[in-house]
């Protein structure tokens, strides 16, 4: 394993954790678009309660990934931010809008404003999750065309296509599924738990049905995404694992004592999908269009000099040693301790 691969492991982990935890937070926002009539306020309170202490820490995984990218693989970062600047900008608007709206809603005392923030939070969560998926997809879509002449070919085609859009929708869907399944364990009211469990199952179904769509779209666009998964052994392994996990998650959602299992299995499910993608993409960072006359950009080519990679790895190891204990403490306080009503925090 060379230095580039070590850095890639950290990059992959950051993205994986962002997809799982940041993704669940995005999904929490999306769930607010589908609140049940009778339990509207309870569900919203539960989502807020579950997210408030941890969402900022979960969000930092994305920043970490960006920093690793621009320090370790500057060419990937600069090429992506040139040819994919439109979806990136859209993502940023979404991130700013939802983070602010969530915090403002929590601290604002005016009801009217709170309603506005709620709407912004919910829609911008959907928007952000969608564009995250679009961006991920556009790195493998193979439509980046640095030599193209027109604006459309240069800046729209790489991401504005059926494959990327369907993967964006799929991302939004699995984020919602994660949120729904995580929330099942957070609720302490029986009715609410029942409703959330039903929602978790619906999102699992929707996610399962949406999953093949990007592959079909890629096939129709003559883009061998499925072949890439098939031809990389580890990727295929995770792909199969993901398929096998779908019924397991479904079954674990049937009994309340299996809630912890449902959480763990859903994390494994989404994790397998993400890892399958990473393995299929490795070692290429950005796929360029076949007729662009430019070979695709590999991580190896894009990597910074070894001196930089060494201090990056050193920093990441030391940083992990500081962050993980603190993060474990945070989650232990807020996620693994059941509390009576008295000790619940209130806005």
């Amino acid at each position: 394993m060379n230095l580039v691969d070590v850095v890639l492991v950290f990059l992959g982990l950051s993205l994986l954790f962002y997809a799982l935890f940041g993704g669940a937070d995005l999904g929490g926002g999306i769930m607010e678009l589908f609140l049940s009539k009778d339990t509207r306020e309870d569900e919203r309170a539960l989502i807020t309660h579950a997210m408030a202490p941890v969402w900022e820490a979960n969000h930092v995984w994305l920043i970490l990934a960006v920093v690793i990218l621009f320090m370790g693989f500057p060419r990937v970062y600069t090429e992506a931010s040139t040819y994919l600047h439109l979806p990136l900008m859209a993502l940023l608007v979404g991130i700013v809008a939802r983070g602010c709206a969530f915090t403002f809603r929590y601290y604002d005392t005016s009801r009217t404003y709170r309603r506005t923030y709620t709407r912004i939070f919910a829609y911008s969560s959907l928007w952000t999750a969608f564009f995250l998926g679009v961006l991920g997809a556009s790195s493998v879509a193979g439509l980046i065309h640095p030599k193209a002449m027109t604006y459309g070919e240069l800046f729209l085609d790489p991401w504005l296509n059926p494959f990327c859009i369907s993967l964006g929708l799929f991302t939004a869907s699995f984020c919602t599924m994660l949120a729904a399944i995580f929330l099942v364990g957070e609720a302490d009211d029986i009715d609410l738990t029942r409703i959330l469990r039903r929602k978790a199952k619906i999102t699992l179904l929707v996610t399962s049905f949406l999953a093949p769509v990007p592959l079909v779209m890629a096939h129709l666009m003559n883009r061998p995404i499925f072949e890439m998964i098939r031809d990389h052994r580890p990727s295929l392994l995770f792909f199969v694992l993901a398929i096998l996990l779908i019924p397991c998650v479904w079954i674990s959602l049937n009994r309340s004592i299996w809630t912890t299992w449902a959480r763990a299995l859903s994390v494994m499910l989404v994790g397998s999908i993400i890892l399958s993608w990473f393995m299929a993409q490795y070692p290429t960072a950005l796929f360029y269009a076949g007729d662009s006359g430019q070979p695709s950009l590999s991580f190896q080519e894009a990597a910074a000099p070894p001196a930089t990679l060494r201090v990056l790895v050193g920093g990441l190891v030391v940083g992990s040693l500081c962050i993980f204990p603190a993060l474990a403490y945070l989650f232990r306080i807020f996620k693994w301790e059941t509390l009576d009503e008295e000790r619940r925090y209130k806005p």
């Binding site: 820490a57 920093v67 983070g99 005016s110 920093g315 945070l330």
Partner: protein, 442 residues
Amino acid sequence: MTDLLAARSQMALSLGFHIIFAAVGIAMPFLMSIAHYRYLKTRRPEYRVLTKAWSKTVAIFFAVGAVSGTALSFELGLLWPGFMIHAGPIIGMPFSWEGAAFFLEAIFIGIFLYGWKRLPERSHWLSGVMVGISGVASGFFVICANGWMNSPAGFDWNGGEPINIDPWAAMFNDAALGQGVHMIIASFQAVGFAFAGVHALLYLRWKHPVHHEAMKIAFFVGAIAAIIQPISGDLLAKGVAQRQPIKLAAMEGHFETEKGAPLLLGGLPNVETRRTDYALPIPKALSFLAFGDFNAEVKGLNDFPRDLWPPVVITHIAFQIMIGIGTLMALVSVLGLFWLWKKPQNFLRPLWLKLLVLMSPLGLIAIEAGWVVTEVGRQPWVIYGYLKTADALTPRPGIVYTFILYTAIYIALTLVVYQLVRRQISTLQQDLGQPQDKETQP
């Protein structure tokens, strides 16, 4: 508007917006922790109310700072890929450390804000302090990266490509320590004065003793910082005189190289006639301040090619604003600290309170002015002496539209945060209720 101007404006706007939230994120957790400490010592409920009120401010400003900071980490590439492709490997290290420090900050802020009933009191208090410490650290690391743009180190430039990269030398460049310390002190100074002013206003209106306590805490922190700041500023300016003589010349509106150069107070530089008009000169003071010698030679702008001049008028005026405000704040701080020590009753005088109210935005204005000095004063370079800002610009078209979009977002956010803080203050009034009987008032 050209693409370059649009990109520079967008970057200036984003940084100018973010820097306020970052400064609050650096200094405010400490004010909060002092109030919290007082509560734990005295058990007076007002301190608890105050701690909670300040912690909400921290939460709001941290969240906005976090998302606007995320936007910045992407904007560097969206606007300046020509800079990032070279700078990323050289100066990525402080950014990655900043990421780690920021991570800790986000974790501890979650623990502090929601841990009131879940943690032992001491751990809870400590988590608040940790928010501040990691905030200071992350601020310092980012400034290290900015220092490198002013004082590049840790690489050799080989025909437009950096080679022999040494990230350690790059991070600990000559400007890093001076700039970092200056910015952190500025945060405490600006935030201390801002909150002293807000609570002075509230005290004038509501006469609740808690506002008086809050004002004293905030003023004390701000005043200490304001008194140290001129020393840090002087050291930094001496460094600029060595490293970036042209920036110093623009800051001072100094055109003609001379020995025993005068310090120009105020004035308006005229780049056509190459003179600074309407200024008040203090003989030999610039030579002394820049080099510690009244007869030292200070290089003027005329010694440099015209196309390497930064925008002189902006740099000079921004510098004058920063220096003027800094001097005023230092003087007021000395007076205030003396009163706090010897004549605390003066702290209740309406005139003094009104002065603090008037001064509350000054520190933040000085921070903005200081950033203009360092960023505009470095132009036309983005990596001083190596890479021009124009050559770092993204090739994509239509930057002016994203500039408009960002401007709209930041204006909206500013208004919303302002409204939010106002409503927070009225809630604070309800929580506090009416002041108790007059005797308990300090």
